[in-house]
Every structure is written in structure tokens, then in C-alpha cells.
């Protein structure tokens, strides 16, 4: 935070981000300054504390390492954005937290502490009790994520009925309440509609109502705006941020869209090939990104608050298959700076190391080199 200065850099977000960030900071408790400092040897302190999470599952072609050593922590009232291309393991991470990947022949290791309780070690019944209750999820495509044969009201009331000792009438009234709260007009009659009778934006609102039905303390939104058009996207993001204020829950937003996290996130985790590439406050990620992959993501994002560049920069190549992750740095084949590996072997995996307070980068480039290259890129861009 101390490095926050007036120098305007290309990565710096607009006024909205600054406003959100200020809000996030004011709600932050002083002792969690470095809540995201990764795996520590001490006991869990944050509300959600994930340590060295690995989710592997065997397929006919080989072992898929969908998540391979992810650690972060999150406090109530804070928002974490998880960013990465498709196949980077961000969705699997969130399903893993909910215990939805701990079935079949997949293997999950590491720790997921939710208020001090390890969900990886806990038995299925206990995780099921927490699921939909203390932690809930908003899914990507609301049309296919809602059951076509049940009314919206029934689907919202369902989780409430399971986790609370209430009658059907009370659950229905609760569903109407929630629909009102997420901004559905005529909620009292729309509660009996089926999902196909809702518009796309309304369906996503209903989906959010479904997730909120038990006042979750942890809310995970997996690409909540991908299936929606741009005007509705903004409304949904506003709604999520308003509800977070109201409920004080911790929110994880999973997206490939840096614009979304710029609006909402306090902290950002950049994932690549199932691993952590970079982790830091959204200020760190937008103003002082250290990983070449993050630079690529930022360069490929259209900006309205800047002079338009000639064309958007794309990251060359495609993400690696999670079965044959390259030895050494997984980003190596696509990295413009792969040659500057400071004498390290091609097969050496870069460790996640701090480059600033609470700011972690997994890259062979030294901190100085990272700063220099970013400053250079920023100068060229503007």
C-alpha cells in the first residue's frame, strides 16, 4: 500500500475501481494485512484459508492435474477474483471448495479451512450440510443450471427447506422475499414461473437468489456474467457487490474477464495450468503486475479509460493440456521472456515468492527485471 503513488500507469483502473478499492480497504481488519500470504505453518486465521490444494483425476489419457498447489485466504466482506483462461483450473478450484469434486476417482489433497474446519478431511455428509448453507455458488449459464421442470420459487426454496426447519409456506415466502431482494418485479407472481419464462438477466438474478437462500458466508460466482449481454452484466455485478455489502459475505469471483474483477475484487489470483501464477491485491495486479502471463492478460483487455492502442495484444499459443504440463515453468512455451531465466534449468519450476507485501509471483525473472519490463511495456503502450 505504501507504494501507492500518483504515477499513472497503463494498468491503473478508472475511478470506479478506486472507489471500490477504497471501500474494500475501509472494511478491512488491520490484522489481516497479509491474509493472502499463502501457506503458513500456523493454524488457520482467515475465514477461508486454502493451503496447497491439489485436485487430480485419472482419465484414459493420463492423470489430469486440474488444480496443482493453490493457496489463498479470504476474509468476510472481501472479494477475491480468480482469473485465467479456460482450462486454468479456476472452476475446478471452486467446485473443490464446495466438495463437488471430491467424488468418483478424483483425488483431492491439501487443506480447505472454512472457519477453522478442514473441508478436505471432513466427511461428505458434513460438507453437504455446509454446501448451499454456509457456502453457496452462482453458476455460469443460468438456463442450463436451473432445472427446467421446477418453478423458480421451488428451486429457491429447496435449499432453504433442506438446511432449515421450516414449513413449505415459510420457504415460499422466503423465496418471494429473495426474488424481491435481487430485483425481480412482481416477485409474488413470478415465483411460480418456470426458468424458461424468465429472461436471461432475470434468470441470473434468480440464480443469485437461489445461492443466497441460506445467507451464505462464502459466495462463489463462477463466470456470473458470461452468458449475459453487456448492459445486464453491469447490473448483475452491481447486484453482487450490493448484496455482499448487505450480507458481509466473502465472495470469490471466477472469470476470464479482467474487467469484471476490476469492478469487484479486493484481491486477485491469476491461475495458469492449474497453478498460481500471481496473487496480490487488485492494486498490485493492475499497477505492478509481475508475471508475464498477467501482462498478457492485461494487454489483451480493451480499455475505455485510455487512448486506444493500435490493436489488442493477444497471448500467442494456447494453454497447455493439463495432462502434459510442460516441465519447469508451465508458461515457458508462450512466454516472451523465457530466455531470461537467470541461468535456471528449463525444468526448474518457478516457486511462488513475495515481490511486495502480500504480492506473490511465480516467475524466474527477478523482482527488478519484472519491474523494469513492466515499466517498459507501460511506456510503449502509452
Amino acid at each position: 500500500m505504501a507504494e501507492d503513488d500518483g504515477r499513472r500507469q497503463p494498468g491503473q483502473a478508472g475511478g470506479r475501481l478506486a472507489r471500490l478499492r477504497a471501500r474494500g480497504r475501509s472494511g478491512r481488519e488491520p490484522e489481516v494485512q497479509d491474509a493472502g500470504a499463502g501457506p503458513g505453518e500456523t493454524g488457520p486465521t482467515a475465514m477461508l484459508d486454502i493451503r496447497d490444494l491439489r485436485i487430480h483425476f485419472p482419465t484414459d489419457d493420463g492423470l489430469v492435474k486440474a488444480v496443482d498447489g493453490v493457496s489463498f485466504a479470504l476474509e468476510r466482506g472481501r472479494t477475491l477474483g480468480v482469473v485465467g483462461e479456460s482450462g486454468s483450473g479456476k472452476s475446478v478450484t471452486s467446485l473443490g471448495i464446495l466438495g463437488l469434486y471430491n467424488t468418483g476417482n478424483s483425488r483431492m489433497s491439501g487443506q480447505i479451512y472454512l472457519d477453522g474446519e478442514d473441508l478436505v478431511a471432513a466427511d461428505q455428509a458434513r460438507v453437504r450440510e455446509l454446501r448451499g448453507n454456509k457456502m453457496a455458488m452462482i453458476f455460469q449459464d443460468p438456463l442450463s443450471s436451473m432445472h427446467p421442470y421446477y418453478t423458480v420459487g421451488d428451486q429457491i426454496a429447496e435449499a432453504y427447506l433442506i438446511h432449515n426447519k421450516v414449513g413449505k409456506k415459510a420457504a415460499r415466502a422466503h423465496a418471494v422475499d429473495l426474488l424481491k431482494r435481487v430485483g425481480i418485479p412482481q416477485a409474488a407472481t413470478r415465483v411460480d414461473d418456470y426458468p424458461h419464462q424468465f429472461s436471461g438477466g432475470m434468470r441470473q438474478r434468480a440464480m443469485i437468489a437461489m445461492a443466497l437462500s441460506c445467507d451464505p458466508e462464502l459466495l462463489i460466482a463462477d463466470e456470473p456474467t458470461t452468458a449475459l449481454d453487456v448492459t445486464v452484466q453491469a447490473q448483475i455485478l452491481d447486484l453482487i457487490s450490493d448484496l455482499q455489502q448487505e450480507y458481509g459475505s466473502a465472495v470469490i469471483i471466477i472469470t476470464h474477464d479482467l474487467g469484471v474483477v476490476a469492478e469487484l475484487a479486493d484481491d486477485i489470483l491469476v491461475m495458469y495450468a492449474g497453478r498460481m501464477a500471481e496473487y496480490g491485491s487488485s492494486e498490485d495486479i493492475f499497477n505492478r503486475p509481475g508475471h508475464p502471463y498477467t501482462w498478457g492478460l492485461l494487454g489483451s483487455m480493451p480499455r475505455l479509460d485510455e487512448v486506444r492502442q493500435e490493436r489488442l495484444l493477444s497471448i500467442r499459443g494456447t494453454p497447455p493440456s493439463l495432462i502434459n504440463v510442460p516441465a519447469g515453468c508451465p508458461f515457458n512455451p508462450r512466454c516472451d521472456y523465457a530466455a531470461r531465466n537467470n541461468g535456471r534449468s528449463e525444468n526448474e519450476v518457478p516457486v511462488l515468492r513475495p515481490v511486495g507485501p502480500g504480492h506473490l509471483v511465480a516467475c524466474h525473472l527477478s523482482t527488478d527485471e519484472q519491474r523494469r519490463i513492466w515499466a517498459e511495456r507501460a511506456r510503449v503502450a502509452s
Binding site: R131, N133, S145, P148, E158
Partner: protein, 335 residues
């Protein structure tokens, strides 16, 4: 919803009229178009070695020389009001609904058909309950335990069930359980109203034989449907709500997977009500199937016409039933 049902009912009546027209045309118009004279048609209704005068008399009595549309009109009137037939020396009355008069048996068609309906109905309903319950249950378990020994075994048996014809499995069942170990001796039809216990006991073998074929089909269908449904996004949502796995499978998975099964079940049941021909022949049950076979063997045109219309009626009604049920099951197709 009520308007939808009424609309469908009206459409059903029209459909039945069209079916009757086509059937009637096949028996009375096509032969003429093919060059057969009304005289040749009339020969079929007279005894062996008839005199020319007798054939001409029958042709006139039955109105076979009249235009086909007039004959059809008379046929329809007979269904609604009944009609009289000159059967040799006697003037036979055929009360409504009169689906024609069988000159081979010297009897109206309708009462004969009606008397064989309970046999077919008992056979079809009993078998359908067995195959629906067992087929769906096995299909669901197979899907949930995909790749397990249970799955492989039951799908192997299902393959055998689909492949083996009823006249084979039926004869094997009869040989084993009726003759060698007479657990179910003397498989004959006993009306339910006479003796429910004997009714059920005597129908066990036909039920199981018929149900085996269909259960195999339904198990495979249910398994495929269940596998597809359980990978849907809304199943993940249901799990994310923290619902017990049982609720996820039954309320969210099975409910959706059953929709296509309901459609096929209605069609199959409708088809069987028109006569489970092979099963009835194998077990010598005098239902509509055996009635049809005998009518065809005797070239008894009025009987064939009657039973065709009755079978069509069952299928059309089954379709109506499926449509209404479908609208109830899937809100997206609700009008």
C-alpha cells in the same frame, strides 16, 4: 390446460374418422381400383361353390354394388345406430356399435371383439407394470453404478432380452414352469371377476415373458437417459445446494430422465392393447391378437376391419394420453 385437452380430444375424433376412412378404403376401394369387380368381392361373403344367382343376391343385399362412399356412410351409420343384415334365411340385427357382421361366424363383429378385450387388457396392463418398474429400476441402478459388475451383468441380460423373440422365451418358460416343474400349470385365461387369484397366477408366465422383452428395452433407455441427465448443469446446481444425493438422483435426475420413457411407454401400451399377437399365440390366450390372426386366416373382412379400427383407436387414445401427460411433466411444452 382444459382448453388444450378439449382441442386434443376434437383432433382425436377427426384422426379416428380419417383412420376409419383409410382402413375402409383399403378393404373396399383398393380392390375396385385394382380392377376387382363387385361380383368378385361378393364371392367372399358367400359359401363354397356358390351359384351365380346367390352371389348376385349377396352383392345386392350387402350393397357392394353401391358407390364406396355410400357404403362407408352405411358403415358409419351402423356404428352409431346399428343395422340389419340379411344372413341367409334370417334377418340378423347388428346393434350399435355395429362394426360389421361376420358371415363366417354368423355373428356381429363387435361382441366377439369385446369378449377378447379383457384378455389383452389383463396381459398388457400386468406386463407393462412389471416392465416399467423393473426396467426403470435396473436402468437407474446401472447408470449410477456405471461400469460395475451389476451394470455389465444387467446390460448383458438386457441385450439377451432385446434379442430373444417372445415365441422362444415363452416356449422355454412354458416348458420349464408349466410342464417340467408345474408351478403354473394350465395357463388359461380366468376372468378377474371370477377368481382374482387364478387370474393372476395363470397370467404370471405371459406377463413375465412379455415384460422381459420390454424391460430390457426400458432398462437400456433409462440407463442412457439417466447418464445424460446426471451430467447436466442443473444436477450440479442441485448438489451445490447441499441436497442429499437421494433427492438429487430422484427429484432432479430421474424426473428429467423419465420424460422420454413416458412417451415411449404410452406408445408401447397403446400398441399392445391392439393385441399382443405373439404372446397370445404362444400361450393360447384368446385376446385381440389371436382374434386378429384368426380373422386374417379366415379372410373375414368385417372382422379384420373391426379389429384394425379398434387397434387404431387404442393407439390414438394412447397418443392423446401421452400428450396430456407430457404437458403435465414438462412445463416447457405446456400450452
Amino acid at each position: 390446460m382444459i382448453a388444450f385437452i378439449i382441442r386434443r380430444l376434437i383432433a382425436t375424433v377427426f384422426l379416428l374418422i380419417i383412420v376409419s376412412m383409410i382402413t375402409f378404403a383399403i378393404f373396399f376401394l383398393l380392390p375396385r381400383l385394382a380392377g376387382q369387380t363387385t361380383y368378385e368381392l361378393a364371392i367372399q361373403y358367400v359359401g363354397r361353390n356358390p351359384t351365380r344367382a346367390a352371389v348376385l343376391a349377396v352383392e345386392k343385399q350387402l350393397g357392394l354394388d353401391a358407390p364406396v362412399y355410400l357404403q362407408y356412410g352405411r358403415f358409419l351409420r351402423g356404428i352409431v345406430f346399428g343395422t340389419h343384415y340379411n344372413a341367409g334365411p334370417v334377418r340378423a340385427y347388428c346393434p350399435p356399435p355395429c362394426f360389421g357382421y361376420s358371415f363366417k361366424n354368423q355373428q356381429p363383429v363387435w361382441p366377439q371383439m369385446v369378449s377378447s378385450i379383457p384378455v389383452t387388457l389383463s396381459l398388457a396392463i400386468g406386463a407393462s407394470i412389471i416392465w416399467l418398474v423393473s426396467g426403470v429400476a435396473i436402468g437407474v441402478l446401472s447408470a449410477l453404478k456405471r461400469g460395475s459388475i451389476f451394470d455389465r451383468f444387467s446390460m448383458g441380460v438386457a441385450l439377451a432380452g432385446v434379442s430373444l423373440p417372445i415365441f422362444f422365451t415363452g416356449l422355454i418358460a412354458l416348458e420349464l414352469f408349466s410342464y417340467r416343474w408345474p408351478i403354473f400349470p394350465n395357463v388359461t385365461f380366468v376372468p378377474f371377476t371370477d377368481n382374482p387369484w387364478l387370474w393372476a397366477k395363470n397370467l404370471v408366465l405371459p406377463w413375465i415373458t412379455l415384460a422381459f422383452l420390454y424391460a430390457a428395452l426400458y432398462a437400456r433407455l433409462t440407463r442412457a437417459g439417466m447418464l445424460e441427465t446426471m451430467s447436466e448443469d442443473y444436477i450440479r446446481t442441485a448438489r451445490a445446494k447441499g441436497l442429499p444425493e437421494r433427492t438429487v438422483i430422484v427429484k432432479h435426475g430421474l424426473r428429467a430422465a423419465l420424460t422420454p420413457i413416458v412417451t415411449i411407454f404410452g406408445m408401447d401400451l397403446g400398441l399392445l392393447l391392439g393385441g399382443a399377437i405373439i404372446t397370445e399365440v404362444t400361450f393360447s390366450l384368446h385376446g385381440l391378437g389371436l382374434f386378429t390372426i384368426e380373422a386374417i386366416n379366415n379372410q373375414d373382412l368385417p372382422e379384420i376391419l373391426g379389429v384394425t379400427l379398434l387397434a387404431a383407436f387404442f393407439i390414438v387414445i394412447a397418443n392423446l394420453f401421452v400428450d396430456i401427460l407430457y404437458a403435465y411433466v414438462d412445463p416447457r411444452v405446456r400450452p
